[in-house]
Symmetry: C2
Subunit: 100 residues, 2 copies
DNA sequence: TAACAATATCGTAATATCTAAATATAGTGA
DNA sequence: TCACTATATTTAGATATTACGATATTGTTA
C-alpha cells in the first residue's frame, strides 16, 4: 500500500486482523486463550482437519508473532504471544480470565 | 468450513475480522470511529485511491453490517454499526471516546 | 428535464490464499 | 543407531481477493 495516510502501524494491525480472520486460526487462538488445546495433535483432532493444514495455520500465526511454540518432550506447546490479539479475543468471546 | 467445532459464531467473527483486516478498510473504520471522514469523497481524497476502489471497500463493510450509510443531500454519510468492531478498534488504537 | 455531482456496479487481470497430499525434519526411547 | 511420533515444509491446483477503468445509477439543482 503506497499511501501516506496508511502508515506502518495501520498496515501491521490490518495484517494481524487478517491473520486471525480465518475460522481455523480464530478457533486455535480462542482455544489457546480459553485454556484449551495447546499442542498440534490435539488441535488437529479437535478441528478435524489434516495435520499439515493445522501446521500451516500455526506457521502463519507464529510468523506474525501471534503465538509462540515451546518444545516439551515430543511435542510443541503453543501459547498466545500478542496482547492486541488477546484483547480482541477476550472482548469478542467474553472470556473473563486466562484459566491456567 | 465443514466442521462441528467451528460453529456459526466463530465463522461470523472470523469473517468480521477478515473484512477489517485490510489497510484501506481498517483506515476507513478507524477514521469513522475517530470522528474523521464520513462521506466517500473525503475518504477518497484522504486515502489517495480511486473512487471506485473506495466504494468497493465500503460495499464490503456495508454488506457485513460493519457500517451503515445514510443519504444526506447529495452524499452518503457512513457510520460504524457493529459493536464488536467498535470495541476492537478502540482497544487496538487507544481511542477513548467517540467524538461527535 | 438536462446537466452535474456523488456514489455504486461491472469486467477482468494480477495476485494472494487455502487445502491437502507427499515428503522432510527433529526429538525420543529402545 | 533404528523405529517411532510429532511437527514442519513443499508443491500444486482450486478458489478468493484486490485494484481500477469504464460505465451505470441516483439525487440535486437550474
Amino acid at each position: 500500500m503506497n499511501n501516506e495516510y496508511i502508515d506502518r502501524e495501520l498496515e501491521e494491525k490490518a495484517e494481524l486482523l487478517k491473520i486471525i480472520g480465518h475460522p481455523v486460526r480464530l478457533c486455535i487462538v480462542r482455544n489457546l486463550l480459553d485454556g484449551g488445546n495447546r499442542n498440534v495433535s490435539e488441535m488437529q483432532e479437535c478441528l478435524c482437519i489434516p495435520q499439515s493444514t493445522v501446521s500451516q495455520h500455526l506457521a502463519k500465526l507464529k510468523s506474525a508473532g501471534i503465538i509462540e511454540g515451546q518444545r516439551n518432550k515430543n511435542q510443541i506447546v503453543y501459547a498466545l504471544a500478542n496482547e492486541d490479539v488477546k484483547k480482541i479475543i477476550k472482548s469478542m468471546f467474553d472470556i473473563k480470565e486466562e484459566d491456567k
